[in-house]
Structure formats: C-alpha cells, structure tokens
C-alpha cells in the first residue's frame, strides 16, 4: 500500500494534537483528499480546508495536486512570519 507523510503546523498541529501523520493513498488521492482523510481522523480540523494551502515535497501545489507514494504533504495555514512593525 502506498502512503504519504503529512506534516501539520501552528494551530492545525495544536487542533490535531500531532505534527505528523501517515496517510494511505487510495486511487487518485489529491492533496485535498489527504486533508479529508485527516479530518476523519482528527475531527477538530473540519472546516479548515477553506483556509489551508497545500505543499507537496516543500513546494506549494493546488488542492487538486495528485499525491504519490512517499510524498511529504504539508498543511499550510495562513503564514504570519516576520513582525507587524512594517
């Protein structure tokens, strides 16, 4: 069975209670599909698909991006680095 590693950060990691998860890949699973699988496992993530961006192997991808065996999928909530001073 092929699988992908998922990484969670910031508020999403706190809601799920984990920073990493392993997802088995069904036929044609997309980045958005990976998120759906995670919502079933961690119901507190429900609703966040509206704001999350996806990255596969450290590059931003559209939600429709197909996920392949061994990929690292990251759930990227709205970023807020730097400072507010600017």
């Amino acid at each position: 069975m092929s699988s992908a590693k998922v990484r969670l950060f910031a508020g999403l990691a706190e809601l799920a209670g984990t920073r990493e998860a392993e997802v088995e890949l069904g036929e044609g699973l997309t980045a958005a599909g990976v998120f759906d699988v995670l919502v079933q496992r961690y119901p507190s993530l429900a609703g966040f698909e509206a704001i999350v961006r996806f990255a596969v192997n450290s590059a931003y991808v559209p939600a429709s991006h197909p996920v392949r065996d061994g990929d690292e999928v990251a759930l990227i909530p709205p970023v807020s680095g730097g400072s507010r001073a600017v």
Partner: protein
C-alpha cells in the same frame, strides 16, 4: 546567499557581513522585533512555528526574484523559531547593492514577500489567552 530558520538568537553582524562585497556600496539590514502590544492588547511573548525545510527553500526563491527585479548584489535572511520575549529579534533581512536606493527597496520587497509566502507562523500570548495569527493584518 544565506537563508536560515533557527531556534538560536539571531546574529545581525553575521547576516550583514554575509552580504558585504567590494562592488556593493550599500548594505540595508532590517530587524523584525517582538512588540509589547497588538490591537490594544498587551503581548507577553510570542511563539514562532515553522516548516524549516520549506521555509529556507521559499526564502531562496523570493531572494532570487528580488535579486533579479532590483539588480542587487547579495541577500541574507534569518528567522527565529520557538519562544521569543518582548524586544527580541524574530527576523533579519540584509541586502547589499551598488547604491542605497536598490538596497532599501529590495529589503522592503523581501520583507513583504516573506510575510506572504514563507511558512512561518506566529502565536501571540496575552495575559488572558493566546492565538495563532492568521496572515499579517
């Protein structure tokens, strides 16, 4: 070019020296500093989370874009993670160029682009609660 995400205290001297070049007459160095208030609430400290592998990759991409657009010589960026106290430095951006105008403009463009795209997140901790900041508004 120097692009780092680190839990250690940032080092402005090292970042500025990294971009020093004989053909660059100007170095602009920006500090992002933890402020003690936001939207009328007193901030006790901040916590930064990051996706370090991707953050350094995205920093490299935005630096390449900015270098091309402004024709600057060299760029270095450092961002800190973990708990930061008021007054500590969260972000350093250094740019060198032949003349000062391009260095200032490129530095501002880098900070703006950083906030839009680099996977780094800030949590504000108040006296009576805490919240992850969504975007920079």
């Amino acid at each position: 070019m120097l692009f780092e995400v680190t839990a250690d205290e940032l080092d402005p001297g090292r970042v500025a020296e990294h971009v020093r070049r004989d053909d660059a007459g100007a170095i602009a160095l920006f500090y992002g500093v933890v402020r003690d208030h936001n939207r009328g609430r007193r901030v006790m400290h901040l916590e930064y989370d990051a996706y370090p592998e991707m953050a350094t990759k995205v920093m490299r991409q935005i630096a390449a874009e900015v270098k091309e657009r402004f024709g600057v010589a060299e760029i270095a960026i450092q961002h800190r993670t973990g708990r930061l106290e008021i007054g500590e430095t969260s972000l350093l951006v250094a740019v060198s160029s032949a003349h000062r105008k391009e260095a200032f403009e490129a530095c501002q463009a880098l900070v703006d682009r950083f906030k839009e795209t680099v996977p780094v997140w800030k949590k504000e901790v108040f006296e009576d609660g805490e919240e992850w900041v969504e975007g920079d508004h």
